[in-house]
């Protein structure tokens, strides 16, 4: 099988998953006990109003027609109106998604700049105290509920040490000043040339991003460590040492490059799974992102919004995983070869 065929097959698999997801969400939103129109209008509405909205929402059509209409909406980006915000769900998503993407991106960057060096150091000093510390952190990070890390960080770095603000994306004194070109505040503030506001955004994002990164941090450290140790014992590394190359060059250039491949896979999975944990972290830090919007929607039975958020996350999740597959094939010729040999 050619590499591109492999990619095409992965892509098709992803699309099938998304169609499956849309069916599940559709079924879920239709088994709701009670009439969605009644729920939308509240108990005070008259019978005629309910009937009118029922017709308007297309709930009188047969189920398959409803599904087709719903799919058409999904594909054209028309997700209906949110009962909560009274705006089009797609408009809401465009507004809230950048905050979430910004948060998880900074979070994965923190995982990389903290997790990988610590993993390398742990491998260099196998069974030293840093090695043991990373093992402990790894255990800690998979056992602590995400929201609890957030609360602990707020308590320690917010209330106790007063180093970071504990809620929001930006101090109110800046909020009027910046133009939202992209919705990514880190970029918008730079584009406006407002360095103070830019730093203010960093100041706000670091704590929630760090809290969010904890879950995967341990995993990345341990994986980097074990693949560094695997690679370190290979002949070519021995040979480089024999040639008298300095230690740091062997470690950081030649060993890390190959040891990085398994870590890259995990980073991809992690990046996608952060979308899930963001639900908890955004709630704790009052982060005005998609996850918090989704939670409000779930609690208020705001179905159009729930469907919109779920499908957006599904697309992001499947999309990121596909990108990682693609990237891995580029970085590691062995994977490409394996795929080609597999047939």
């Amino acid at each position: 099988m050619k590499y591109w065929q492999y990619l095409a097959r992965r892509l098709a698999g992803g699309v099938v998953s998304l169609i499956g997801l849309s069916i599940i969400i559709f079924i879920v939103s239709r088994i709701l006990p009670g009439n969605p129109a009644r729920m939308a209008l509240g108990a005070m509405a008259s019978e005629e109003q309910v009937q009118e909205l029922t017709r308007e929402m297309g709930l009188t059509q047969p189920l398959w027609q409803q599904y087709l209409g719903y799919m058409q909406g999904l594909l054209t980006g028309d997700l209906g109106r949110s009962l909560e915000t009274k705006r089009a769900v797609s408009v809401d998503i465009v507004e809230y998604l950048p905050a979430t993407l910004e948060l998880i991106t900074v979070s994965i960057l923190l995982t990389i700049v903290i997790g990988i060096p610590l993993g390398v150091i742990a491998a260099q000093n196998k069974d030293g105290w840093i090695d043991h510390a990373t093992r402990l952190i790894a255990f800690f990070s998979v056992s602590v509920p995400g929201f609890f890390i957030g609360i602990l960080f707020q308590l320690i770095f917010g209330y106790l040490l007063d180093w970071f603000p504990i809620t929001g994306r930006l101090s109110s004194r800046f909020s009027g000043e910046i133009t939202q070109y992209t919705g990514f505040f880190l970029l918008d503030t730079l584009a406006s040339g407002d360095i103070l506001a830019h730093l203010n955004v960093w100041h706000h994002i670091l704590l929630p991003a760090l809290a969010l990164s904890m879950a995967g941090m341990g995993q990345v450290m341990r994986l980097t460590r074990s693949s560094m140790i695997d690679v370190k014992n290979q002949d070519y590394v021995e040979a480089e040492r024999g040639y008298g190359l300095p230690d740091w060059l062997v470690t950081y250039k030649y060993t890390l490059k190959n040891a990085f491949i398994p870590t890259l896979t995990v980073l991809g999975l992690l990046y996608a799974s952060l979308l899930g944990n963001a639900f908890l972290i955004e709630l704790v830090f009052s982060w005005p992102g998609l996850a918090r919007y989704g939670i409000t929607a779930v609690i208020n039975n705001d179905f159009n919004a729930v469907v919109g958020v779920t499908m957006t996350i599904g697309v992001a999740f499947v999309g990121i995983n596909f990108l990682i597959d693609m990237l891995l094939g580029r970085v590691d010729p062995r994977i490409r070869l394996q795929i080609e040999e597999a047939t």
Partner: protein, 299 residues
Amino acid sequence: MSTSRANLLDRLVSEQRRELWARAWKRFRSRPMSVVGLIIIVLVTLSALFAPVIAPYPGHAGKYTDFGSTLESPSVDHPMGTDHVGRDVLSRVLFGYRLSLMLAVVVLGIGVPVGVLLGLVAGYYGGWTETVIMRITDTALALPPLVMALAITSALQPTLWNAMLAVAALWWTWHTRLVQSIVSSERNEEYVQAAKLAGASAPHIMFREILPNCLSPILVKVTLDAGFVILIGAGLSFIGVGVQPPQPGLGTMVSQGTGYLPDSWWFAIFPGLAIFVLVMGFNMLGDGLRDVFDVEVDR
């Protein structure tokens, strides 16, 4: 004669199996981490079972209020302090453990058998059966588990039982994947071919021949899963779609406690720590078991 030989063979196999388990137990005991994990789980389970007896204020598990003693800091009377309506946090944590453990038991009790069965069928038969089953599992894995559970819960009333249903409805997929991957490599092994030639039925081969070889990875996965399920349940309760007040869900308590930070820190911190300790126990045990059986299982 042939029956006696078959009996002998059976005896040999079962003896070998017993020896394998005995060796595993020995390896297990030599790992302090996994032993500590097991002790934590046993202690928590016992205290949850006997919560009505050992909790200092069993009445505080429910709708009790005592506005004379709200938000008291930890003391001898209330080792974990009291909450916003004057209930003993320790007592509520003990009862909260009951709900967490029940969640894990119900979700895994439904999810594991269903998942294993579908995995066996998919791996053994292959072809279309496999494609259909595995496509369905892929779909369930197209969202982070917490989001999926949240989406399913959104259509139902927010109760503990519905949260359990939602989590169970997607949990089988992991076990299907695990078992299917083992079975599809085992089905070409000689012992399976031999059983087929001997005329054994498909259920016999699946359950009696192949399944025993999947047991140790399943056991490891179930242990690690228990911690993960408890985390997801706590997350759902924290969001507000799981255990509802006045029931003492651990995640619910943390959520209520955040309103009283930083002054009354004990209200949110102790229930949070309680979740952490239990999940840590399962992870330590699972990690130890993974080494003992020498299997590769993802979280």
